[in-house]
């Protein structure tokens, strides 16, 4: 199985915006049925990395490969057509549209003939509701409900179900659990596992190590645009990962400040806040 070419691979990808180098020498692989967790502090370059994967930014240097063959995305639509789907933090981007209508934006089912072709609302609602329910979200049973009225977790689930329904092979989730409570987050994590079970390659971006450890097979830690560590499930403990994410440097920096402070204050630790 592992001999199979990864669905999506980055080889030595750099990304600069003018003089600003945001990503350096990134090499990554995601295989079908695997969850790759991308960890990193604010500003580490996670969003830039997934935008590069999703065809929003072309890489400045380096290669993107799909199924072992080099590809160049002409834009997000092109990447989407090749099976790369991105789900953003707040899920559905059309809060004022109904579930059925938003599910089929751009690919509306119609019935009738010629100029009288009408949007098949009933069919759209049915398919959309069935698709979310197949991910275990049975509380959604009316396709006429507005997306904006769903809970954050339900919206994420709807967006994921939509991507899977339309044949996504790579699912990119940008902090899907960031704004969610414990229960809602666990819903989303369960859906991530379901997508994985269905053979999708999942790239999961998060700040929360616990969430990463719950679903990840592979982990990559980004620090200031470079891949600081890459390891498999079980190779590192939670504390080690947290430490890595905070950036060994940041911790070292903190210790250094503490030390200078102690010296200049005759060995007293700073008063705790």
């Amino acid at each position: 199985m592992t001999d199979e070419a990864p669905v999506l691979e980055l080889r030595n990808v750099d990304k600069s915006f003018g003089p600003i180098d945001v990503l350096q020498e990134i090499s990554l692989k995601v295989r079908s049925g695997e969850v790759l967790c991308l960890l990193g502090d604010n500003g580490a370059g996670k969003s830039t990395l997934i935008k590069t994967l999703a065809g929003v930014h072309p890489p400045t240097r380096g290669e993107i490969l799909m199924d072992g063959k080099p590809v160049q995305f002409s834009g997000p639509k092109d990447a989407g057509d090749r099976g790369i789907a991105t789900v953003h933090q707040f899920g559905g981007t059309f809060p004022l549209m109904s579930i059925g209508r938003s599910f089929f934006v751009g690919v509306e089912p119609t019935k009738g003939w010629g100029p009288f072709k009408v949007f098949d609302r009933k069919l759209a609602n049915e398919i959309a509701v069935k698709a979310v329910q197949s991910f275990g979200i049975t509380r959604i049973d009316d396709g006429d409900r507005l997306v904006g009225g769903l809970s954050g977790g339900e919206r994420q689930s709807l967006a994921i179900a939509r991507a899977v329904h339309f044949g996504a092979r790579v699912l990119i989730l940008d902090e899907p659990t960031a704004a969610l409570g414990v229960k809602q987050a666990s819903h989303v994590l369960r859906i991530v596992l379901e997508a994985k079970r269905r053979g999708l390659a999942v790239i999961f971006i998060t700040h929360q190590v616990m969430h990463a450890m719950a679903v990840g097979d592979h982990f990559a830690v980004l620090i200031r645009g470079a891949l600081a560590a890459s390891f498999r499930k079980g190779e590192k403990t939670r504390e080690e990962i947290t430490d890595l994410m905070a950036g060994g440097e940041a911790m070292a920096g903190l210790e250094a400040t503490l030390e200078t402070y102690m010296q200049s204050h005759e060995g007293h630790p700073p008063p705790s806040a």
Partner: protein
């Protein structure tokens, strides 16, 4: 109870309630006899001319854009018809084609600028509004030496675009009703309607989903400019003359009608029935005041109040719709 709450969740609800409120106010405070007001030509004609422009402006607003150049396109349409067919005496069909082509061209310019630049469409169409006013004035003075041009249209053109049905109602009322049905069908029943909602919700996501957002935007701008020049053309044929001035009221009037009709100023939400009732409400406030004891000067105050109340209602009904969970209310009442 269920029916009531279903009604309030409809985007047209606020405009219907506004209409009922205005009627009640006119009847109770203004002493209006409803039978006289009901289909009175004054407001129906006013609504029809306004409504034909409000429909495409409503669609544009749902798609997240706005067009105020319509204020110049009304006189442009009527002057084009009158100059070509009245002053130069060419067949009326040529004058009409001229008016409509002018609408298409200005709409095309608006649309191209809107998709090619990041300038907000309010500013773009402000530019074409002022620009077209200059063009219309200069053209009419240069070509005819006059700011008002007479026109005599043949029988068939009069019949289709400018006669009074039963001696009182302009034939554009029929055009308005037909266009309302057509726009309603497109927006609510076809996939193109879905595209318009998606564009107003999030243009980037809509484009990534494969919707030709640029083409649609240009098309909508062409529609609004052409509908405005169409109304101008009909007025020239109706009144046998065209003036350079006029039309500016339409900017304000269409926006109020569309917003009272429940269209979200920021896009993504709205209905054609809502725009229809918003237009009717506006027309009744504006023209129905002559049926009351109330001084005409109060009409604008009433419009202001209606606008604010309607927007507040739209806001709260929208919240209701967003947080409505059908499963729950359905179980509560066994109907």
């Amino acid at each position: 109870m269920d029916m009531m709450s279903a009604f309030f969740r409809r985007p047209a609800a606020a405009s219907i309630l506004s209409l009922i409120g205005v009627l009640a106010f006119y009847v109770i405070i203004g002493g209006v006899n409803l039978a006289n007001l009901a289909l009175a030509a004054s407001w129906v004609n006013f609504a029809a001319n306004l409504g034909i422009v409000a429909l495409p402006v409503g669609l544009l607003m749902i798609a997240g854009e706005i067009d105020i150049s319509i204020g110049a396109m009304m006189p442009a349409g009527s002057m084009a018809t009158a100059i070509i067919s009245g002053y130069y005496g060419l067949p009326i069909a040529v004058g009409m084609a001229g008016a409509l082509v002018l609408g298409i061209l200005v709409g095309l310019v608006n649309g191209l600028l809107a998709v090619r630049t990041s300038v907000p469409s309010l500013i773009i169409t402000l530019g074409t509004l002022v620009g077209m006013q200059g063009v219309v004035l200069s053209a009419s003075v240069l070509l005819t030496g006059n700011a008002s041009v007479a026109l005599t249209a043949p029988e068939w053109a009069k019949f289709l675009f400018g006669h009074l049905i039963g001696g009182s109602h302009q034939v554009v009322v029929i055009w308005w009703l037909v266009l309302t049905v057509l726009f309603g069908f497109v927006l609510h029943k076809t996939r193109y309607g879905n595209w318009i909602f998606a564009m107003g919700g999030d243009k980037t996501s809509a484009r990534n989903a494969g919707i030709p957002t640029r083409g649609m935007t240009i098309l909508l701008f062409i529609l609004s400019a052409t509908c405005a020049s169409f109304v101008g053309m009909c007025q020239a044929i109706q009144f046998n003359s065209a003036q350079v001035s006029g039309g500016m009221d339409y900017i304000f009037n269409t926006i109020v009608s569309v917003v009272v009709g429940g269209v979200l100023l920021t896009g993504g939400l709205g209905t054609v029935p809502g725009v229809f009732f918003g237009t009717v409400t506006f027309a009744i406030v504006n023209q129905g005041i002559y049926f009351t004891h109330i001084n005409r000067n109060w009409a604008n105050l009433i419009i202001g109040v209606v606008l604010l109340i309607a927007v507040a209602m739209n806001e709260s009904f929208r919240k209701l719709a967003l947080h409505h969970q059908p499963g729950k209310t359905a179980k509560a009442s066994p109907s």
